[in-house]
Symmetry: C2
Subunit: 173 residues, 2 copies
């Protein structure tokens, strides 16, 4: 089921993700799909959710004591996910759907986004950062910006520089 969605999203333009297409690809009747999900958006989100909880087992923010190194690792990991052809396409598709569906957006916020940001904020707070949530936003926001709007590519140098800037912003460097 999820495999079918991933395959279609990865290899065809987003608009080609249809209920009938998924049903055909997964060798399943439309009825069965509608039994569980009301829309392609819902299946898409479910696939993302499964993949997120499954693979990485919730959110893992490294904590070695060296905050700068940990953040570089964290951002590098995010970049890796965003850059991955399959996961990246999936994320892009879900993000697009979220913009037009407030209910779905709320789910995404509560189940995926909030925990992830909270974990990052936690790590920052533990290192003595005040306004840890705003700092987490400062860390993640530009990554989203660059990826979503495809302004420029990611590279290691940028990741390091970015983490440096964020640490300076929160007065810990």
């Amino acid at each position: 089921m999820h495999e079918a969605v991933l395959a279609i999203v990865a290899e065809r333009p987003m608009a080609a993700l249809t209920m009938e297409g998924i049903a055909a690809r997964a060798s399943v009747s439309k009825q069965t799909l509608y039994r569980t999900w009301p829309s392609t958006s819902a299946i898409l989100f479910d696939a993302l959710l499964a993949r997120s909880l499954d693979e990485s087992g919730a959110v893992v923010v490294p904590d070695s004591g060296d905050l700068a190194a940990d953040l570089r690792l964290l951002i590098a990991g995010m970049v890796g996910e965003l850059t991955d052809p399959v996961h990246g396409a999936l994320l892009r598709a879900v993000t697009a759907d979220i913009l037009g569906d407030e209910a779905l957006a709320a789910q995404h916020r509560e189940l995926l986004l909030r925990p992830q940001l909270a974990a990052i904020a936690d790590r920052l707070a533990r290192a003595g950062v005040t306004d840890a949530e705003d700092a987490a936003e400062l860390l993640v926001g530009p990554v989203l910006h660059r990826w979503l709007l495809r302004t420029r590519r990611f590279d290691e140098a940028w990741v390091a520089a970015h983490v440096g800037r964020v640490l300076r912003a929160v007065a810990l460097a």
Copy 2:
């Protein structure tokens, strides 16, 4: 034409924006629409482009000499636009379409995003900021993050704090 698109986008769910709907609303035949635009996405983008160039006359980054005050003004202005029911809905719709259409994304990047970021980077560079483009991204990214993912509301206090953090990040505060 553009009015019809704005009206529909503002008052109905995004998915309800159809060629037939726009044609009807604008009292125009589908033929006429297809003569100029290949898709709803294209009309949408055109409407945004017109509105952006028209109203604000390209990009205006305040330059009073007081960098912090200027940036606060700039961000407050952005927040105002993003929060506006009509312009906000329009931006959301275009952003969603961009995620699924690389050609459209390229147009958006070149005609709207790049000039806007360049203007901000310019203002920063004039104030002595190195890596001005990265700094501009650092300034705008979190705004996009908060708006797009609807994590939290904007308020004046946050804007001021955010600008403060960015200035500290680039070592000018």
